[in-house]
């Protein structure tokens, strides 16, 4: 099965998402024999500070918005934890505005919120961020287009094939059904993978609600057994 037929992954060309039309490759991807992409992922070359996981403590005051905890496990496709791997996140503020000179949405910036964070997974593959719930925002893909609230995630994982950049959504958001970026994923199970769940266990009473979102990364293509034969 070629990657283009993989129902879990979005295609490169998805015309409803206008940005794909001139950027999706038109020629077939070249598939290499098993193992040519089996090599270690690079290590993230910068230190991760203790407070990098807390997006609410990067300025003098607290950001406006609904304080939330986002937590989960990173595992490979065999269910093994992916330990000590970098997880990078970025997001809009509670009003739906990014700290980016190209973001022209007329919603307020928050002087106490930049929207970027990172952490390393622990020995069970767990990560944890404290942030505020991002707002939805309009984009110009089609008339009255709005992105559902989301947090961007980037992971390196253990192997070159593990590299993943994706987006986490929030349960029950009515904008998800109208979002061509999420709907580009053909299979409903794939789309459901990107929706976090409300996690009452991880909620901190009198302080923050919590959402859980687990991430499954590609592992090596060839098993060690196959490599030995």
């Amino acid at each position: 099965m070629s990657d283009r037929e993989d129902p879990i992954e979005p295609p490169y060309l998805y015309p409803d998402y206008v940005g794909t039309r001139l950027r999706a490759p038109a020629k077939p991807l070249v598939r290499l024999p098993t193992g040519f992409h089996d090599f270690p992922a690079p290590l993230f070359p910068r230190p991760v500070a203790d407070l990098d996981h807390d997006l609410t403590r990067q300025h003098g005051g607290e950001p406006i918005g609904e304080r939330i905890i986002v937590t989960g496990r990173v595992v490979d496709s065999d269910g093994r934890p992916v330990r000590n791997t970098i997880v990078e996140v970025w997001q809009a503020n509670a009003a739906g505005r990014y700290v980016d000179q190209d973001d022209q949405h007329p919603a307020p910036l928050d002087p106490n919120f930049s929207g970027g964070g990172r952490c390393l997974t622990d020995d069970q593959g767990r990560y944890r961020f404290t942030t505020v719930k991002p707002g939805a925002y309009p984009w110009k893909n089609h008339r009255n287009a709005w992105r559902p609230a989301h947090i961007h995630f980037s992971l390196l994982g253990n192997h070159f094939r593990s590299r993943l950049v994706t987006q986490m959504y929030f349960p029950g958001d009515p904008l998800m059904a109208r979002d061509p970026i999420l709907q580009s994923i053909p299979d409903a199970r794939g789309r459901e993978r990107l929706v976090s769940c409300f996690d009452p266990e991880a909620t901190v009473p009198e302080w923050a609600l919590a959402y859980r979102w687990d991430i499954v990364l590609r592992g090596r293509e060839a098993t060690p057994f196959e490599k030995e034969t």
Partner: protein, 165 residues
């Protein structure tokens, strides 16, 4: 927990607060022995620059990592070292190359390509051998007065060869 993989989504246009890091384009210090400079441009299917792409570079042994956001001209650059030959999964000799990964608004999944070096042992490379001959030049950098020039064309007649992951 396992089962279906977590699918990819676009990096979008606003990753500036999340992904770039200081001197990310310097895999090695510019003054170090063997440092080389790579320059390129990311272009779309109309031949226009892609000013909001993120390009990552890693040698095939995973020892080293660079990340560079394209500018308004779609331009990126790296300072790194030329890797040596590496073995393929069955012991094949692969010519020196760098793995290049591209993210951008409009790319629902990242793209993976390779940058080979000019005037090298590319004729016997097992991966280049799988690429139609007329498309191989898209994978080989040009030596432009000591700078290795490698443009990435996402779509069109001169489209860069990308590999399925």
């Amino acid at each position: 927990m396992s089962g279906p993989l977590t699918p990819s989504q676009t990096v979008g246009p606003f990753f500036g607060v999340g992904l770039p890091f200081e001197a990310g384009e310097q895999v090695v210090d510019p003054g170090s022995d063997g440092a080389i400079r790579i320059e390129g441009q990311v272009l779309d299917g109309s031949g226009d620059p892609v000013p909001d792409a993120l390009v990552e570079v890693a040698p095939p042994d995973g020892k080293g990592f660079g990340r560079c956001r394209t500018d308004v001209e779609g331009a990126f650059h790296f300072v790194t070292v030329k890797p040596g030959i590496v073995k393929g999964p069955s012991g094949e000799t692969q010519a020196p190359h760098l793995n290049i990964t591209v993210f951008a608004r409009g790319l629902l999944r990242h793209l993976v390509t390779r940058m080979y070096f000019p005037e090298d042992m590319n004729a016997n490379d097992p991966v280049l051998g799988l690429v139609p001959p007329e498309r191989r030049p898209t994978l080989i950098a040009r030596n432009d007065h000591g700078v290795f020039r490698f443009d990435i064309r996402l779509q069109g007649d001169q489209e860069t060869v990308f590999f399925a992951i």
